[in-house]
Chain length 257, copies 4
C-alpha cells in the first residue's frame, strides 16, 4: 500500500500526557482584541453584550466537556478548571487544550448575532490558550483569586479612566497621566467626588467577573448511599461572586476533589 | 497590592519552546465530524461546499500567519507547515498551535453562510490540533506525501462505497462487506464496470486534496541583488496537485528553506 | 572571535524546569547488576557488604545535596526525595537528575574497597536514573510504600528461593518451579517447616530496606521563635524501619513540608 | 498482593522519547572541578594525567554504548554524539543521559590510580550532563566546532596566564589584569616575546582537545555487497585533530549518517 511507505512519519508524534492527579487549568485570551473591540464598537469600560457572549461561549465549553467543573472570565479572557483526576483524552495536553480552545472560539462566532444583533461581525476573532498545572488546592484557589484580583484592579482603573474621558472630557493621554501612581482609594475618590459614582454599586459582573459552575443535581436515592454528586452533570450557571474568600469553595467541595 | 500575593501562581507556567531550525507541522482534525456532516446534510462521498469551506478557513490561517508557507487539506483535516527558521511567538508550542487552531475554527464558522447559503448552521463545530516536528526535508516531504496518499486511499474507497450504496442499492453494511479486502485495482474495476465511472476523471480536488501556497511576488529590483522571495508574502492560491513527486517541491524551493 | 560564529548552537539547549511545589523523586537502578554481582561474588540472597555500600553511596548524595531529605534503598536501587519547595538548580530536571546520579555512582566506586576489602573491583559499575513528580503527600507516601512493599515481596521470594537452592539442594530451575504460584504464607511455611527459619527474625535491613533521613538538630533558641528545623541540616542516619504505616511520617513532618 | 495497592504511583512516570532522526548530543561537565583540581594538585595550565583520565573515561562510554560514534573533550568536559537514527533505549532521554553520565563517572573514579599513581583520590568527583538535539548536519558540525573553538580560546588564555604567573612572577590578579582586553595575537606575542614559547608548537592535545572515534573495520566481503561499516564497531582511538574544517567529516561520512 502506497501509504505504508510514508507512514513512518507518525513516529515523530511524541506523547504529551499531563501529570496525573494534578489540577489542569486552561486559560484563553483574545488575540488582538484591542483592535477587535474598536472595530465592533464595544462600549467602554464594559460592554454587557461582549461579556455575555464570552460567558455564553464558556458555557459551551462546559456543556461539551463535562470534566470542566469551573470557569472564570473577565474581559476577553477565560480560565477553565478540570477535575483533578480527569482522564479526558487520557490527559493529553494538546487534545485538552485544543478542544477547549476550539469549542470556545466556535461558540463565540456562532453566538455573535444573539448578543450583537445590530452589529455585523466584520471578521472572525480568535483566541490563544495555554495549559498550566497546579499540584495543590491552595494553588488552584490562588490562581482563581489572582484572576479575580486582576479583574478588580483592571475594572477600577478602566472605570475611572473612562469616566475621566467620557464625562470629564480628558484626552486618553491626560486621563492616563492623572491616574498614574494612584492607589485604589484615590480612584474610588475620583469616581465618587467628581462623577458621583459609588464604585461598589456598579454591577457585580464588572467588579467580580463571571464564575461558571454547575447546579448540584438532587439525585434520587435509589441506593442507600448514592455516590456524591461530582460536579460534572447538570445545568451550568453564571455567577458573579467572590472566589477569593473561603465561602465559595466551602460550599462546593466537589470542585477541588 | 492584592494582586501580588497571588501572582506567584504565574511561576507554574512552564516554557514550551520548540526545537530551533526544525520544521513545525500543525495538523487539525474536525471533532465529531461524522455527526456534524450528517446533521448538516453533507453530500457523499465529497461535498464541494464543505471542502471549499475548509480551504477558505485554511486560507484565513495563511493570511494571518505569514510564516505558514504551505497547507494541505482533505476532508475535515488540514496540515500547516511553518518556515523552518520561523521565530513566530518565539516558537512557543502552545501559542503556535492555538493561533492556527483558533483562526481556522473562527473562519470555518464565520464563512459557513458563504458556502452553505441554504443550510443553517445548527451548532458550532470544533477541531483539535497537534504539533509535530520534523528535522529534515525528506521527512517533511514524506509527511505531506503521507497525507496525500491517505487522500487517494480514502477517496477511492469512499467513492466506490457510495456508488455501491447510492447507485447499486446496497446497504452500507453490504457495501462494506463487498469492499472488504479489495485492492485498488478491484475498486477501480467496480467503479468502471458497474457504474461506468473512470476514477481518474473525477475532480482533482477529490483525488488529491487541496494544496495552499502563495504566488511568488515579482519584486522590483530596487537594489542590485534583492533578497530572494521567501514564500511569506503575496496571495494565497488553492491548488489540487501532486505533492508526492519531486516537481512540486523543486518548483518551490522556498518551502523547505 | 571565532567562537561567536558557532555559539548559535547554544540556542538548541531548551529549558527543562520541573513543576514548582511538587515532590521530586529520583530513582536509580544498577545497570546490568545481575552480571556485576555474579562477577564480584555477591552473597545470595542478601550481601551485607553490597547493601552497606549502596547505603554509603546514598549517604554521599544526601551529604552533598541538602535538599534531599529522604532516601530509600533496596538491592541495587535507591530513591531520593527532594523537599517539595526546593529551588536546587532552579528545579532544572537534567541538573537534579545528573547530580544525584553522578554523586551516587562516584561514591559507589570510591568506597568499594571499604566494603569489599578482599574483592578487587573488576570493572566500573553504572546506574541509570529517572525523575518522577508527585503532586501530593499521599502519592509520595504511596511511592515509598510501593518500594518497601516491593522489598518485602522480593526478599521473601529470594530468601525462600536461595534456601531451596543452597540448603535444599534444588537446582535454580526446580526452585523456581516450586515457588511458582505460591503466596506469602506458603513461602513462610517452606522457610519455617523445611529450614527452621522464622522469616520475621531475619535482619530488618533485608526485610525493610534502608531508610536515610537526617537527625533533627537541636537549635539553640537565640531568638524567641527559631524557625523549625527543616530536615536539610545535620547528620544522616541509616534506618531499617517501616515507612508504610503513619508513624514514620508523623514523627518527621518536615519530610513532606 | 500488598504491592498492587501502591503500584498506581507508576502512572506518574511520564514518557520522555527524543525526536526521531535527530542528532543527540550529550555534554558532561565536572561539578566543582576548580576545587577538585586544586585539592589534587593538577598542573596548570594543562595536566596530562587529568586529560588522559578524562579520555579514558570517555573511551569507556564508547566501548559500552556503541551508538556513540564521536566524542570530543577538553578540560573536565566531554560531548558525545549518538548516531542520528539510534534506537538505543528507544531514545528515552533519561536512560540515554543517565547511562552516558554514570559510565563516565564510574570510569573516572575507577581509572584514577592508573593516571594518578602517586596521588590518592581524596573524595569522589562528579559530573553533570545535559542532552541537546540537533536537527541537521551543519548544526552538529557547528556544535563540535563551537567546543573546539572554545578549547583554542581557553587554552591560549590559560597558557598565557600561567606563563605570567609561573614564569613571570605575576600574581593571578595582576596576570588577569594584564590579559584583560587582549586579542589572540597579543597573547601569542606575550608568550613568544617574553617566554620564548611558540604557541603553535604546544602539544595538539592542549590546543585541539581530544577527539574519539572508532577505527574503521575491514569487513571480509562474505557477501558480494557487504553493508558499509557504520561506525559502531571496532576499536576506539583518541585523536587530537581539527574538527572545524571539512576534512575530518569528509573522511568519516558515517558519523553524520
Amino acid at each position: 500500500m502506497a501509504n505504508s511507505k510514508f507512514a513512518y512519519v507518525r513516529s515523530f508524534e511524541l506523547p504529551d500526557p499531563l501529570l496525573p492527579s494534578t489540577y489542569i487549568v486552561c486559560r484563553l485570551d483574545g488575540r488582538s482584541f484591542h483592535k477587535f473591540t474598536d472595530v465592533h464598537g464595544f462600549l467602554k469600560p464594559n460592554d454587557e453584550r461582549g461579556l455575555g457572549l464570552m460567558d455564553r461561549a464558556a458555557e459551551g465549553v462546559m456543556t461539551e466537556l463535562r470534566d470542566v467543573v469551573l470557569a472564570f472570565g473577565e474581559s476577553d479572557e477565560f480560565s477553565f478548571l478540570l477535575k483533578k483526576h480527569t482522564t479526558l483524552y487520557n490527559r493529553r495536553e494538546s487534545k485538552i487544550l485544543s478542544s477547549i480552545l476550539s469549542i470556545l472560539t466556535a461558540h463565540y462566532v456562532f453566538h455573535w448575532p444573539d448578543f450583537f444583533p445590530e452589529t455585523k461581525l466584520q471578521y472572525p476573532p480568535s483566541f490563544d490558550a495555554r495549559i498550566v498545572l497546579y499540584p495543590g488546592e491552595q494553588e488552584v484557589r490562588d490562581y482563581f483569586a489572582w484572576r479575580q484580583a486582576d479583574t478588580h484592579i483592571n475594572n477600577l482603573y478602566n472605570t475611572t479612566f473612562w469616566a475621566l474621558v467620557q464625562q470629564g472630557d480628558l484626552t486618553p493621554t491626560a486621563a492616563h497621566a492623572e491616574l498614574s501612581g494612584t492607589v485604589s482609594a484615590q480612584k474610588h475618590e475620583i469616581l465618587h467626588g467628581r462623577f458621583g459614582v459609588n464604585y461598589n454599586n456598579l454591577p457585580e459582573r464588572y467588579r467580580k467577573g463571571s464564575v461558571l459552575v454547575r447546579k448540584p443535581v438532587n439525585k434520587r436515592p435509589r441506593s442507600r448511599q448514592p455516590p456524591p454528586w461530582d460536579g460534572t452533570s447538570g445545568e451550568v450557571e453564571v455567577l458573579h461572586v467572590d472566589v477569593i474568600a473561603d465561602e465559595f469553595w466551602e460550599q462546593r467541595p466537589w470542585l477541588l476533589r
